[in-house]
Every structure is written in structure tokens, then in C-alpha cells.
């Protein structure tokens, strides 16, 4: 007996819209709730399983717990990998690949090794302090490299959690910090999902110390391409090496473009990008996925540099397939996944018949 499984959560849009698409393809998908998996560490009793792993629900807004939550999730992914060694389980995205992409630092290094253009990581010349980055070290490095604006991203974060954009004028000492993180007197460092701008060092420095303590990567803050006064980047959903969906994420008045921050999504055609550029982006996305065997579905964030329009990969996410602008319209992404499930079921049936 063969069975397709979503390891996820009921009543989430990911589950609902994949189930809808599967029903349209005439295939059934069984939901295994993350809570059940964490209790029993087992999947349905079938000879052959195809498992799609959706992210578990993280309800805490505490950024201090980010690494702890990520560690727990990594552990579960390891358990899933182990299970596949003793049972016939195929994954839509391999758990080890999902884990690999959760680590922004490792992902960036892998893409760079593959010769792919990524947003540049600012490397520290001072490796003292056990590799832990302090505010003073960061500012000194910015001064030394003449970089006046950077992005600071928790290595294990997802979405815009803890992501901050810092400007520092080494000549005048002026600072500006754009972030969704906030220091709460009771809860400590929290993610507010609301972008704020701080301009006073007395507000910025304590916040920055807490953010850097999360283990962060530092990236160059590139001026992004602009459409009608709004800067934007792109989110591609790439499945089986093909770009299924490409969306622009516009931001007016803030450098952080994330669909969870009330940024404005825009159809790619409205940007008027050239055919050549779109083709370059598609090839780049395909090459990124190739760098991760076992990755069938990925969300890829792409920056287009203002002026040059040079594409650079910001980050990749093995669970970046939920795009509201798709599910509420043609549901292309989950329909493709439903066809992948259907094909798998048919192939397995064929193998059995032979």
C-alpha cells in the first residue's frame, strides 16, 4: 500500500490548499500533525510513503528562543531522516536539505562554492572573542571596509524574525536601525512583525547587542531595484527545477521586504523586466536548486541591484511554498505538488506491477 502524507498542522493554509489541489488531481493525502509525530515519532503504517514536511507552528515571539526552537526542529528532521533508513519513505524535500537551508550561513557558503551570485557576507578580520560578534567589532569592520550599511540576520531565523538593517556613519557617528525586533522589559528580545526605525544610539546599541548575541550573519545592504517609488525584491517558488511562481515584494519606507510585514506583493509582469533578465533569474533559480540534491520545492529570495539589475540570491527556504497571491488564484504551486504526488503514486504502482 502506498500513501502520501503531509507532516504539518491542520487548518493551516499550507495543508488546506495542498489538500484542495490533491482532491482535484484525484489523489488523497493524509495529514499527520506535528504534535502526533513529536509524541510517537512514527508515520502511518504503509509499505511506501511519500512525505511532505511542512514547518511546525512556532507561537513564541521571543527571539531569545529562536535558536532553541530551531535546534528542536533540527532534531525532529534528523529523526525523520533516520526513519527513512529503516522504512520505505520518500520525501518531497529531504529532511537533511530542509535542515541545511535553515542555516543561512551554510546555505550562503554552499551557493558561493557553486559559483552562484549571493548577497555578500561581510567577513570579520577580528576573530577574537570566540567568533562571537560584538557591536564594537561590527562597527570597526564597517569602518575598515568602508561599508556604511548592512543587514544583520540571525543564522537560524525564518521570515523576518530578528532581521535588522543598520546604517552607521563612521565620520559623524550617526546611526539608523530598521528592525522588527524590540526589547521588552518583561519578555526580553521579541519579534513584533512591525518594522520600526530607531535613530538614537542609546536606543540602537542595547538592541543591537541582543540581536548580535543570537549568532548572526552580516550582509551588505544593497540598494534594491525600485518600481514606482517602492524598492522591491523577488520571491520565486521553484519546483522540479522550474519557476512555478515569481512575485515582487515591494516596500515603501523600509528596507526589509517580507510578505509577513504588510509589504505589497506585485505581479512580476507589472515590473516590465526584460525577457533576458527573467531568463537569467530562472536559470539562477534552477542552479540554486541543483546545489541541493533532494530539494524538489524551494522558495528563493532574489535581489536585483538598483541600476545594474544584477540578480543575487538573498536566501533559500525549503518550505517557502506558501504564496497567498497564488493560493487565492490558481493555486499553481500546490497543484504542481499534487501532480508530483500523483506521479509518485503511479510510478510506485507501475513498479509493483512489473
Amino acid at each position: 500500500m502506498r500513501q502520501a502524507v503531509i507532516l504539518g498542522s491542520s487548518d493551516t493554509k499550507r495543508t488546506i490548499y495542498l489538500e484542495k489541489a490533491a482532491a482535484q488531481e484525484g489523489v488523497s493525502v493524509t495529514l499527520v500533525d506535528w504534535q502526533d509525530w513529536e509524541t510517537y515519532h512514527d508515520l502511518p503504517d504503509a509499505e511506501e510513503l511519500l512525505v511532505k514536511i511542512d514547518p511546525p507552528r512556532w507561537t513564541s515571539c521571543s527571539l531569545a528562543k529562536l535558536n532553541q526552537l530551531a535546534d528542536g526542529y533540527m532534531h525532529e528532521l534528523e529523526q525523520l531522516s533516520r526513519l527513512a533508513k529503516c522504512r520505505a519513505v520518500t520525501f518531497l524535500n529531504e529532511p537533511s536539505v530542509i535542515a541545511g537551508l535553515l542555516d543561512k550561513r551554510a546555505c550562503k557558503e554552499r551557493l558561493q562554492q557553486a559559483g552562484l551570485p549571493v548577497t555578500e557576507t561581510i567577513r570579520l578580520s577580528d576573530c577574537s572573542n570566540d567568533g562571537k560578534l560584538t557591536v564594537e567589532m561590527l562597527l570597526e569592520e564597517m569602518r575598515r571596509q568602508r561599508v556604511h550599511q548592512v543587514f544583520i540576520k540571525p543564522v537560524m531565523g525564518s521570515g523576518a524574525a530578528g532581521v535588522s538593517a543598520l546604517r552607521w556613519n563612521a565620520r559623524t557617528g550617526q546611526m539608523a536601525l530598521y528592525t522588527c525586533a524590540l526589547l521588552d522589559a518583561d519578555a526580553g528580545l521579541i519579534n513584533t512583525k512591525c518594522l520600526r526605525r530607531f535613530s538614537k544610539a542609546k536606543d540602537i546599541l542595547p538592541l543591537l547587542r541582543q540581536i548580535l548575541a543570537l549568532d548572526c550573519i552580516i550582509e551588505r545592504w544593497y540598494p534594491k531595484a525600485v518600481h514606482q517609488g517602492c524598492s522591491y525584491d523577488l520571491r520565486a517558488v521553484v519546483q522540479e527545477g522550474k519557476v512555478d511562481f515569481l512575485l515582487a515584494r515591494l516596500s515603501k519606507g523600509g528596507p526589509i521586504t517580507n510578505l509577513h510585514l504588510n509589504n505589497h506583493p506585485l505581479e512580476i509582469t507589472a515590473l516590465g523586466l526584460s525577457e533576458q533578465l527573467l531568463e537569467d533569474i530562472a536559470i539562477l533559480c534552477r542552479d540554486c536548486v541543483k546545489a541541493y540534491p533532494g530539494l524538489r520545492s524551494a522558495g528563493i529570495d532574489i535581489l536585483l541591484e538598483k541600476g545594474h539589475m544584477r540578480p543575487r540570491i538573498i536566501e533559500m527556504n525549503a518550505q517557502g511554498d506558501l504564496i497567498y497571491q497564488d493560493i487565492y488564484h490558481e493555486n499553481v504551486i500546490y497543484s504542481h505538488q499534487a501532480r508530483m504526488i500523483k506521479n509518485w503514486l503511479q510510478m510506485e504502482a507501475l513498479k509493483e506491477a512489473l
Binding site: 561599508v147 556604511h148 559623524t172 550617526q174 526605525r197 544593497y222 540598494p223 525600485v226 541600476g307
Partner: protein, 295 residues
């Protein structure tokens, strides 16, 4: 040097932004190297509009650019429109843009029709005397009184459009509603048809000042956008605008009006943009509202 084509009609490129990207800045390019590179650019002689983007604006004033234009004024004699500081927040905080002294530019560019300046840090306009200038726009997070006084005393007989971002105290606006009252009382712009007093956190008070000014008799476009206009200012507009049949366009986008007031204003028999209604928020017993550009 980056050349960003802004507009083209397939034959003549008329407008182009010149700027340095981060790699060039890190390779020691800056305002001192820009004019020479602009003059060497093939397309430059065909331009009628010169737009200067980022020159490393947080690190150095644009004075070498202004001085370069003045020193090479004959080579810039075909330029009718100048915009210095065309960069968004991705490139530089507006309040960090180091502007310059334009005192000598007026005489050096007698053909100039439009001047747009972004940023007010270190901005000096000096004694403004220009026979041909038709449009003056200053975009900033806080406009110093010294700059407002230069405009107040300006001799601009052909000025048709004046657009000022007033901004906030933290970023350079060191005046109040009386500063703008004096500006509008003393300024002599007989040809003015477009007046913009925008981006203020005292937008209601400035609305009252503008509505009581002599320019209401002559302008056709009134711009009070991007500020903290509430129903108080909205009610004044509703009462006064019908008294001026010369007003054909009212721009009050980005405001804190009630939906009801916005609808009433949009029902005026003129072109009205009352879009982008913002929500104020309360904290510690205070109501907070932001003008659009306050950094």
C-alpha cells in the same frame, strides 16, 4: 560612474541620473570625481536635465559637484533642469545627505528652469536672484529657517512652482507656523501657480496659514500632502477652497483625515487626491502621527 536612464523617447535621451554605486564609493570615487566623469559621458551634451544621485552623500557634501558646474558653466549651458540628491532611503537617509551652498549657482546657470534639491543638511541657498527659474523643489526631513528666509527674499519673477517639504524639528525644521506665514507674506512670486507646503507635523496649522495667504488668489494647484492633516485642516479646506475658483487641483494624499472628511473633500468640484489615509496611534496618553518624510 553609473548612468541610469530615467526617460527616453527612443531618439533623444533627455534625462539621466548620474550616481556612484557602493563599489565605486569603496574605490574612492566621490563628489570630487563626478563632474569630470559627467562631462566625459557621450550622452551628456544631449541632455537638458541633469540628475545627480548618490555621490557618497553621507560622507561628503555635494559642494564639489556644485562648484564643478559653476567652474564649467559654459559646458552646462544646455542644462535647463537640475536635481541634486536624487536617492532613496536604500542609498542614504535623507537627513544624512550632505548638501551644499548654491549661492553662486544662480548666476552660473541663467538658463535654469527647474531646480530640485534633496536633503537639507548644510544646505545654503544664499541670495536667490534668477530671471528664468520656474520651479523650485526642496525635499527633506526638516527645512531650516535660514533656507526658508532665502526663499522668502528670493527674486524669482518667473517662478511658477514652489514645493517645500517642511519636515520636523529633529531633522532641521527650526521654525513654526509663523515662519511659513512670514514666507508667504513677504515672498514675491507673481507667476506662481503651484504651491506646496508639505510633509509637516503641524500640517493643520500650515493649512490655515496657506489658506490665509495672498497666493490663494493666484494659484491653480495647492499641495498640502504628506503631512499630518486631520479633520481640523480638512474642515478649513472644505470651507475655504470653494471661495477660490482659480484652484483646480488639491493634493492632500498621506493624511490623517476621517474617511467621511476625505469623501467630502473628494466631492469638491476640483481634482482632489485624498488617498493614503494613515492611522494615528496612542501611547502614554498621547496621539502620534507622522509626516511622510521625517528622517
Amino acid at each position: 560612474m553609473q548612468f541610469e536612464l530615467v526617460e527616453e523617447d527612443n531618439i533623444n535621451v533627455s534625462k539621466q541620473t548620474y550616481y556612484y554605486d557602493y563599489e565605486e564609493y569603496e574605490d574612492d570615487k566621490g563628489p570630487a570625481t563626478m563632474i569630470e566623469e559627467i562631462l566625459a559621458h557621450d550622452a551628456f551634451p544631449k541632455l537638458d536635465e541633469l540628475v545627480i544621485g548618490n555621490w557618497g552623500a553621507w560622507d561628503g557634501s555635494c559642494q564639489p559637484i556644485i562648484d564643478g558646474i559653476i567652474e564649467n558653466k559654459e559646458k552646462f549651458s544646455h542644462i535647463q533642469k537640475v536635481f541634486i540628491g536624487n536617492m532613496d532611503y536604500e542609498a542614504c537617509e535623507v537627513s544624512w545627505i550632505l548638501q551644499g551652498n548654491y549661492s553662486k549657482l544662480w548666476a552660473a546657470m541663467p538658463q535654469l528652469r527647474e531646480l530640485t534639491i534633496k536633503g537639507s543638511n548644510e544646505l545654503v541657498l544664499g541670495e536667490i536672484c534668477h530671471e528664468e527659474l520656474e520651479a523650485l523643489t526642496i525635499i527633506c526631513g526638516g527645512l531650516p529657517v535660514s533656507v526658508i528666509q532665502s526663499i522668502q527674499n528670493a527674486k524669482l519673477p518667473k517662478l511658477k512652482k514652489l514645493l517645500l517639504f517642511i519636515g520636523v524639528e529633529n531633522y532641521g525644521f527650526d521654525g513654526n507656523e509663523n515662519t511659513i506665514k512670514e514666507l508667504l507674506a513677504h515672498a514675491q512670486f507673481p507667476e506662481l501657480t503651484e504651491l506646496g507646503i508639505t510633509d509637516s507635523e503641524i500640517q493643520d496649522e500650515l493649512t490655515e496659514v496657506v489658506l490665509d495667504s495672498k497666493f490663494m488668489e493666484q494659484i491653480t494647484t495647492l499641495d498640502l500632502s504628506n503631512g499630518t492633516l486631520t479633520d481640523k485642516g480638512g474642515a478649513l479646506l472644505l470651507e475655504k477652497i470653494p471661495q477660490y475658483p482659480n484652484i483646480r487641483k488639491l493634493d492632500i494624499h498621506h493624511n490623517y483625515l476621517s474617511v467621511n472628511m476625505a469623501k467630502k473633500l473628494e466631492a469638491l468640484p476640483i481634482e482632489v487626491d485624498a488617498s493614503e489615509i494613515e492611522q494615528s496611534w496612542a501611547h502614554g496618553g498621547r496621539i502620534y502621527m507622522n509626516a511622510l518624510l521625517t528622517e
